[in-house]
């Protein structure tokens, strides 16, 4: 595996996201970069993962991923099953069979709670965004959740302004007390890969990306994550992964 000589930030994020998926797992995929990461995993180290799209699509093999997110028929191509929400989010996810939920986010906090509903502006007015879709359902019922988002101090806060999808809530067993198992396992940004401390459930840096520094990572967060003594560098994408993204998964560069 040759490391790619040049790659875009989103390609490194997709590769880091793909790495979180193990072969054979069932993956519920949300809107945005998670789609690229899931198809990258399937095209490389995890050919036997089953990709689910919430609206009722199982294991598609698209020729291109399209621009309209999950509602774009390009992403339904060659699926094994065309079904429904009740089938996907009900009989697979709510039933407890989804190994990994893969979500994009607008804002996330120290305990992995995700906001995709609204953001406040400096004038105290709120702007509405997408809301939940299947995001809340996936974060509530998947065995673990991986999230991909921009590394931006306005989006990485001690507490989110609106909990759309629950992480560990305020820590201290608050999530499991509600009967929710699972929870966030990784947050992949354009500067670092973060995880969660098994005890406190607070966010913890796992690795920082090449060409960035710990200072840069911390300066662009609005809370203090746990910083381990030994801090590895995130593995960059391989040449083959970059080729797969550019030539096979997103040939029209919709995500570039």
């Amino acid at each position: 595996m040759t490391v790619a000589k040049e790659y875009a930030s989103f390609e490194l994020m997709a590769a880091a996201g793909a790495r979180e998926l193990k072969d054979g797992e069932i993956v519920a995929v949300g809107l945005g970069l998670p789609v690229v990461a899931a198809f990258l995993a399937k095209a490389s180290h995890a050919p036997n993962i089953t990709i689910l799209l919430e609206l009722g699509v199982v294991d598609p093999e698209p020729l291109e991923i399209g621009v309209h997110g999950l509602s774009d028929p390009r992403i339904w191509y060659r699926a094994k099953i065309h079904a429904s929400f009740v089938d996907m989010l009900g009989a697979v996810l709510h039933r407890g069979l989804v190994d990994v939920g893969f979500l994009g986010g607008l804002e996330i906090d120290a305990y992995g709670n995700l906001n995709t509903t609204l953001l406040g502006d400096p004038k105290g007015k709120f702007r509405r965004f997408t809301g939940s879709g299947g995001g809340n359902d996936i974060a509530s019922s998947a065995r673990r959740t991986v999230m991909i988002m921009r590394h931006d101090a306005r989006k990485l806060n001690e507490a989110v302004s609106f909990i759309t999808s629950p992480g560990y809530l305020r820590g201290d067993g608050e999530r499991s007390a509600l009967g929710l198992t699972g929870g966030p396992s990784r947050v992949i940004t354009d500067k670092a890969v973060l995880g969660f401390d098994p005890e406190s459930k607070r966010m913890k840096i796992e690795s920082i990306h090449p060409d960035t520094s710990l200072e840069d990572v911390l300066e662009n967060m609005n809370f203090k994550p746990i910083v381990p003594d030994d801090l590895p560098i995130t593995e960059p994408p391989t040449e083959e992964q970059v080729r797969l993204i550019r030539e096979e998964i997103d040939p029209k560069g919709n995500y570039a």
């Binding site: 774009d72 079904a83 759309t164």
Partner: protein, 299 residues
């Protein structure tokens, strides 16, 4: 008995203030021709429900038709937010009862099965639940599982007055087939008091009987059948036509402001007499022909 009628008669059967479940998902199988006619007939105070916000709900919200939306959030993917819906919610002109995709699907499912409530794991610990408890306090509750003693969040069923479902194929009785993923359309139809079917193609009942495993909507649930081509334009209909990217971009830009949206309405909804004139306006047969789906790809 034939239920085939005109779009204008089907829309005229809906009273002011009704709860209408719409079949769209973001930019797919949106009941656009239906929504345009609702706007032209000046229906008011409607409640609209669907799992994921779609272009049919957005245009109704922009035109001031809605007083309430019951949905699970949603956007047009990379072409942006549902600006009309978001603006109306931010300005408080419509009340948003906002859940998640599965909670909406479960509410329809409970309605379709005639159940009094349905337990769900979703929403717990979230601000979505807190918000719903404020704007619609009678739709959630808790119950103790009599078998295990566990506590569960429960949701109230949804029973819309009418489901409006955009399909590919139906017969004159309303037996209808949906090709491709069907999101929550089957549960919407089964939970609603009656259904209006908008179909791209009208076929004989004999054709329905040849592929009965594809039939999702039973004729006995249907009050009106309307056949119109490209009735979901600019959204897509799997195996019939692709979305119209240029027109969706035009809609996205126009709907960013209330003024821009009004211009869009004046041009494409109020400025045309009916769906046929709309199809001419958006480019006519030559343009629409370029959207027809490749049967292998489905788009």
């Amino acid at each position: 008995m034939t239920k085939v009628t005109t779009l204008s008669e089907a829309v005229a059967s809906i009273p002011q203030g009704a709860h209408v479940a719409l079949s769209g998902f973001a930019t797919a199988r949106c009941a656009m021709a239906f929504a345009h006619e609702v706007i032209r007939q000046d229906l008011k105070e409607l409640t609209v429900s669907q799992c994921v916000g779609a272009m049919d709900a957005d245009i109704l919200a922009g035109a001031g038709v809605l007083s309430r939306i019951i949905y699970g959030g949603g956007s047009r993917g990379r072409t942006g937010q549902h600006f009309c819906l978001n603006r109306a919610i931010e300005q408080g002109t419509i009340i948003a009862e906002e859940y998640s995709s599965l909670s909406m699907a479960f509410r329809y499912l409970a309605g379709s099965l005639g159940l009094p409530f349905i337990p769900i794991r979703s929403l717990q610990g979230s601000d979505i639940l807190k918000h719903v408890q404020e704007v619609a306090p009678d739709t959630t509750g808790t119950i103790t599982d009599p078998f295990t003693g566990d506590d569960w969040l429960v949701l109230k069923p949804l029973s819309p007055d009418v489901a409006v479902v955009q399909v590919q194929v139906a017969d004159e009785e309303g037996n209808a087939q949906i090709l491709g993923p069907r999101w929550e359309n089957e549960e919407q139809v089964k939970a609603s008091k009656r259904t209006i079917v908008i179909t791209e193609r009208l076929v004989s009942t004999e054709m329905i009987r040849r592929e009965p495993d594809r039939t999702l909507v039973s004729g006995f649930r249907v009050s009106h059948v309307v056949q119109l081509p490209f009735a979901a334009h600019p959204s897509s209909v799997f195996q019939a036509y692709d979305f119209d990217e240029a027109h969706i971009d035009l809609y996205a830009k126009a709907s960013k402001t209330a003024e821009g949206f009004q211009t869009y309405l004046d041009q494409y909804v109020y400025g045309v007499k009916d769906h046929w004139e709309y199809l001419e306006k958006v480019g006519g047969m030559q343009h629409l022909n370029s959207l027809i789906a490749d049967p292998l790809l489905g788009y």
